[in-house]
């Protein structure tokens, strides 16, 4: 007992290392979480600049600023960076920071692997970005990289792209294993599975999705590599291969992937709404089951991305029905959030504003998703700006707003300071206006018939494209307010107490703010 106490005292005094080596060699979940979040924000701005280049070119019909070939590189890189560089690492960052605090663990279960899974990422993205400066340019075949455009007809830099995707995959799989092991093995005594906070539950399910599908992505890029360099013909029709096989394998990864980017967002919103409605989350158990059902369904709907490739009628019907079914558990979640607000006592601090905007705008994205599920109608929507509007609604005011809500919600816990509420609200409202101005008109230009991924368009699409471009610049530049706000909060501000908000639920609020470098050295008791 004596030795044990001494060890605990020793660890408690042990602070972060000095200088840069703190960040390179750290195995501390809070440091690694911080690294992930900053990396993600840097990628968010990088991918955002590419989006602005796209929107600047599309401001008016005609080619003004960039060549069609470079335009394709921008759409491709924008998609890849936002998916793999901004949204996914942001959720991993939040998981690193919050999961141990929420389950009452001292750290993540596999801290050295944690360090490695982060430090792979900057190299992977440096390699991917470097392709833009290579002979023949960077990847220009869309973030979905359909073969044979991405194999036989790809620029030479595609090999670097494949290697970068492999590295991102390794990083994600290690991160996911860490999450699963932490949640299953390191819960505080009394923290049963059905007492886990929803952010923990959604991340547990997300982690299983990641472990299931990232190897599939690795498989498909390896098949590309073989086709390009080793004379195989997986996707080359001239050699007896099958270009549609690529799409099946890609979307078997790709559809669960989109839920990987939204399930943790559900978790964050399910933490925030009860706090600011001052009322327990409605339907906790059904939330857990709905998340699990969505995860299961995500494996049997992939071909709804491929309604126009000519799959047989029976296949088309199966994937249409399965896709429509997703609306049921997703609806349950939205109803539960609304029922949580109903007869609550609501206040509207910045995290709550982002969470409410999430509920409304994610639901609009869900509606357009339901429309896209109707296969005959999808023949008109497919590969138009309607699809672009749909997935940006679920990803930007969906996933990204949830991430921002989470950052505002936990920032006082991380830094020990309250952020500037006025500045936060300004950031919210400008983002809200910008995001809708950008993506709502895309529904209209899509329905009117504008294909996606084109650098120039017919004259009847001009008006709404101009509106969307103006919105994009408003949204893009408003994120600098967020940057300023976060830096100001790190440097100072009103001291936050342990609870931060009025009666929030969860173990993280039992720790002082800022949370000590090593927390829960002795496990807390959960009743």
């Amino acid at each position: 007992m004596n030795t044990l106490t001494r060890t605990i005292e020793h660890t408690e005094q042990h602070g972060p290392a000095e200088g840069l080596s703190r960040w390179f060699f750290t195995t501390n979940h809070k440091d690694i979480g911080t690294l992930y979040l900053w990396f993600s924000f840097a990628m968010f701005l990088t991918g955002g600049c590419m989006a602005l280049m796209i929107r600047a070119e599309l401001f008016q019909p005609g080619l003004q600023l960039i060549e069609p070939g470079f335009f394709n590189q921008m759409t491709t890189m924008h998609g890849l960076i936002m998916v793999f560089g901004a949204v996914m690492p942001a959720f991993v960052g939040l998981a690193n920071w919050m999961l141990p605090l929420m389950v009452g663990a001292p750290d993540m279960a596999l801290p050295r692997m944690n360090n490695w899974s982060f430090w792979i990422l900057p190299f992977a993205f440096a390699m991917m970005l470097s392709t833009l400066f290579m002979e023949g340019g960077g990847p220009n075949f869309g973030w979905t990289f359909y073969a044979p455009l991405s194999t036989t007809y790809a620029p030479p830099s595609v090999t670097f792209f494949i290697f970068a995707v492999h590295m991102m995959g390794i990083s994600s799989i290690m991160g996911a294993i860490n999450v699963v092991v932490t949640i299953l093995n390191m819960r505080a005594p009394g923290m049963t599975m059905m007492k886990l906070p929803l952010f923990v539950w959604t991340w547990l399910i997300t982690a299983f999705l990641l472990i299931a599908v990232m190897p599939v992505l690795a498989g498909v890029v390896t098949m590309m590599l073989m086709d390009i360099h080793f004379g195989t013909s997986f996707f080359n029709a001239a050699g007896g291969g099958d270009p549609v096989l690529f799409q099946h394998v890609f979307w078997f990864f790709g559809h669960p992937e989109v839920y990987i980017m939204i399930l943790p967002a559900f978790g964050i919103v399910s933490e925030i709404i009860p706090t600011f409605a001052r009322k327990r989350l409605f339907g906790y158990a059904s939330m857990v089951y709905a998340t699990a059902s969505i995860a299961f369904l995500s494996f049997i709907v992939w071909a709804h991305h491929m309604f126009t490739v000519g799959i047989p009628l029976m296949g088309e019907l199966f994937f249409m029905f399965a896709t429509m079914l997703i609306a049921v558990p997703t609806g349950v979640k939205v109803f539960n959030w609304v029922a949580t607000m109903f007869r609550g006592s609501m206040t509207f601090e910045t995290p709550m504003l982002f969470a409410l905007a999430f509920v409304v705008l994610f639901t609009i994205g869900g509606f357009s998703g339901l429309m896209l599920a109707i296969a005959p109608a999808d023949f008109q929507y497919h590969d138009t700006y309607f699809v672009v509007a749909h997935f940006h609604y679920v990803l930007v005011p969906g996933a990204v707003f949830a991430i921002m809500a989470g950052v505002y919600y936990w920032l006082p816990k991380w830094t020990g300071h309250y952020y500037n509420e006025t500045l936060g609200k300004v950031h919210f409202w400008i983002s809200f206006i910008g995001v809708n101005l950008t993506f709502f008109p895309m529904h209209f230009i899509g329905l009117a018939g504008m294909p996606r991924r084109i650098p120039d368009y017919a004259l009847q699409f001009a008006d709404f494209n101009m509106v969307a471009s103006v919105g994009a610049f408003i949204f893009g530049f408003s994120q600098l307010i967020f940057l300023v706000l976060v830096i100001k909060t790190i440097r100072g501000g009103d001291r936050a107490p342990a609870q931060v908000w009025e009666h929030p639920q969860g173990l993280e609020w039992t720790l002082p703010s800022p949370a000590p470098y090593h927390s829960f050295v002795e496990p807390p008791e959960v009743k």
Partner: protein, 373 residues
């Protein structure tokens, strides 16, 4: 903004707007029975979404307004209710079944391409379409005609900017026409919104689609699958003609194609070849090799001063006629006539300061074309 968005949504719902008006909000209703069915499905599911939105957002905003702390609201304690939860699981399920029934019926109709009276093979190329009328001995390519000056903002843009081609697809009105869709290089997608036909063109696959257009007219669409640099520049134009005019068009087109083939035996002067060559170059080659012959990076090499354009004429003819495997350079033997090929190769050898001085005769090309077939 939400209010504005909601308002726009309502405006969108106020029915089909005339095709291609500015600030167009909704999908055009199209001109075929199938496109009307698709449009109806689109409107039904849209209204279902609007109804659900009104209920859900209604309750949400009512709560936001009334159950706020600043109005003295006190939180209640309830946090589950099995009956309510079962109801809001089952009701959406029933709505979805109601939606699935008409969707399935329409899909079954769309998949029935049997008993077509005209069969046309549609092949996607980087970045043009090829139409082959099966059993009619008609075969031609269809490329964008919008001038480069308009795209580069050096001239005012026409009404059909980016939606105009040299040879439109011609089909008869009131007949079931079947399209056999495939591709020669990468995946494309053949889409005409007014027919509600969108089918991916995939190398090695032949996909079937069909339409039956009651009214003559001109209908425009675009490639809908990213297919490389000029994906945005390969439109589709379909001219629907009454049966009699269509029959006449078949006769005229066959005659014109025969005349082009016969022209292969003629001998043209250097000036004639150069004049024609420039024209052909600008439609068939300039998208990649550029009007000034300087190319675009390593994927689309320069022709000005290039080893091939200045070197052995046989090698030059071979690469243009048969293409170069594994690169973006296509085989042009099916795309261009013998005269056009002879002219364009002559042009490439003698333009932009390339001063080889030799010329190619159409007959040489014709021999090559016949030899390879």
């Amino acid at each position: 903004m939400r209010v504005a968005a909601q308002f726009l949504l309502l405006a969108l719902a106020s029915g089909a707007s005339p095709a291609y008006a500015d600030w167009q909000l909704n999908m055009p209703r199209g001109v075929t029975e199938i496109s009307h069915a698709v449009f109806d499905l689109h409107m039904i599911i849209f209204w279902i979404c609007v109804a659900i939105a009104v209920v859900v957002f209604g309750v949400m905003f009512w709560s936001i307004f009334h159950h706020r702390k600043s109005r003295g609201a006190r939180a209640e304690n309830f946090h589950e209710n099995t009956l309510v939860e079962v109801i809001w699981t089952l009701v959406p399920f029933v709505i979805l079944i109601g939606m699935a029934v008409p969707a399935t019926a329409t899909l079954v109709k769309m998949y029935d391409s049997s008993d077509a009276e005209v069969d046309i093979q549609v092949t996607g190329y980087q970045w043009k379409w090829r139409y082959q009328y099966l059993g009619e001995d008609i075969d031609f390519f269809s490329s964008l005609t919008t001038p480069r000056e308009q795209i580069n903002n050096e001239a005012p843009k026409d009404e059909n900017y980016l939606l105009e081609v040299d040879n439109p697809l011609v089909i008869p009105a009131g007949k079931k026409v079947r399209f056999l869709v495939t591709a020669a290089d990468v995946i494309h997608s053949w889409w005409v919104p007014a027919f509600a036909v969108k089918k991916d063109a995939i190398p090695g696959f032949i996909n079937e689609a069909w339409t039956n257009v009651p009214e003559p007219g001109i209908y425009r669409g675009q490639c809908a699958e990213l297919c490389g640099k000029d994906h945005g520049f390969m439109p589709i134009v379909v001219e629907v003609k009454p049966q009699a005019e269509y029959d006449q068009w078949l006769v005229d087109t066959r005659a014109a194609q025969a005349a082009t083939a016969a022209a292969a035996s003629q001998v043209l002067s250097m000036d004639e070849l150069m004049a024609k060559g420039e024209q052909v170059y600008n439609t068939a080659c300039a998208a990649c090799h550029q009007t000034n012959g300087q190319g675009l990076g390593s994927v689309f090499p320069a022709l000005k001063g290039s080893k091939i354009a200045l070197g052995d004429i046989e090698a030059h003819i071979d690469i243009v006629v048969n293409g170069k495997a594994g690169t973006a350079m296509q085989a042009f033997k099916d795309q261009l006539s013998a005269v056009d090929l002879a002219a364009v190769i002559t042009w490439e050898r003698n333009a932009w300061g390339n001063n080889v001085g030799d010329k190619v005769d159409p007959a040489t090309i014709q021999k090559l074309k016949e030899g390879t077939e």
